[in-house]
Amino acid sequence: MAWPEKTLPSTDASEKKTIGAGVFRRCDGCGTTLTAGELAANFEVCASCGHHHRLDADGWRRLLLDDGALDPWDDHLSPSDPLQFSDGRPYRERVAGAQKKSRSHEAIETGRAAMNGQAIAYGAFVFSFMGGSMGSVVGEKVTRLFERAAKDRLPVVLLQASGGARMQEGILSLMQMAKSVSALERFRKVHMPFLSVLLNPTTGGVAASFAFLGDVNIAEPGALIGFAGPRVIESTIRQTLPPGFQRPEFLVEHGMVDLIVPRSEMKNRICTLLKHLTHAEATRPARPSRRTAS
């Protein structure tokens, strides 16, 4: 498979000794045994069957962004504990555990980046941080992403991978849906595109806020995408769900996403879309801009 501007993950000698080529993984799609190194070099796509395994935020950066570089925004924002929530284990502890595991402050990273030279506002959910759930920090960072993109007149490319709103911040998590969509609504006024990329999974409060409001919605092969989780639906209607339900082909068939793009083509397709949707802007003769963010 040909990767655009392929940047291989850096593995230093010490890592090689401990993880190295000796670690084998079975493909979730076809069961073929692959080395972890092979999979990583292929951005977690199986070379035999094309199955897309989860790619972390670091991998997406390397795959999509020029030089894999992101100039981060609002990286310092960390969750607090507005409800003093504990499900047996206090929320604060859960957050600390997630930060350690994901090596991220929260379930999304945002910032300024470039794709084939085109400056963009970029966001990617970190699924390994509490299932990419949206609490106050995620809502705030998405809101600021749209606000800054409007101010700097940048297109937005946002990659979603989220189970939905974060229970542990209760109603404040629900409010993030209203807040972020309100910011998106303001961003629309600067006539810059919002490309929404739906990864595995995109459900619940993230699906039901900005995820489907892209000027273009792109799904990744094999992703589970929908409002309610399959188990919730099954237990409500007491039927087994049809094969392919809430998968990308289903969403295209029902008119909810525009296209399904494999990882190997993702950067090119996004760049082509950005080129078209910003064409008028790029070719307009210079004059004082009347479209400014309010």
Partner: protein
Amino acid sequence: MATFVLPFEKPIVDLVDKVRELRALAAKDSRFEPELRRLEEKAGQLAREIFQHLTPIQKVQISRHANRPYTLDYIRRFITDWIELKGDRRFADDGAIVSGVGTFRGRSVVIVGHQKGRGTKENMKRNFGMPQPEGYRKAIRMYEMADRFQLPILTFIDTPGAYPGIGAEERGQSEAIGAALAAMARATVPIIATIIGEGGSGGALALGVANKVLVLEYGCYSVISPEGCAAILWKDGSRADEAATQLKITAPDLVQLGVVDEIVSEPAGGAHQDHDEAASRLENVLWQSLLALEGKSREELVDDRYRRFRALGAFVA
């Protein structure tokens, strides 16, 4: 009214029944009057005592009470010249959301509200107040029409949540809710939302992006049902009472978190004990809220709503 009694309200209901009997007697014989007054007083006091100490899960039960007034019960009481408008112009009319135009104290307004049913037949029609995408698309149609004709919008929130079904997914439940949030965010008219019963997650929020958000005293608003939360956290839906406490979903919690602006008090024993009184109290608060927003310009209304939601959330910077 259908009789449906929660265990903890049984003593109140028994007393209220006696009050009713005595009231009938007193209507014919004035000598029963003092006894009637005494019993009325006692019933009110008992209701206040019991309701003062309701646990969060008991408030959830009240918010879902089968006798509780629903959207159309309020419309019937304080909206005149009401005309219900139906359909999303794309697929169907959704009975779980009612909408239309009417007069509220001399002002023409657009109304959108969840609607639950009473009894099996009506609950089928209303899908237990759980909207499908067409319900939200009808709501969007109303928000846009209100904006076009510069009419204030009153919404009434009362849903367990958006319906999780195959058809709902096929027709884009997520997109419909997201688009409804966006339509409310950009409307240039006053919007007042009232949680009259259950505020179940995104399916409720699609009617909730307002300049002012009110909640009835025993209304609840939550990101997930207590049962659903308990099922996920502890694989045990019966621990809903713990989840209800943890999630902070009662009216005072919502005010404290800044999610709701004002609580509308309910009659003793809850809104279901006296629909007329409940409607009259809500009508007064709605009217004051509307007057306060009427002076604002179109831009101010949009900005005011933006700032209101922009400020919600808690984090360490």
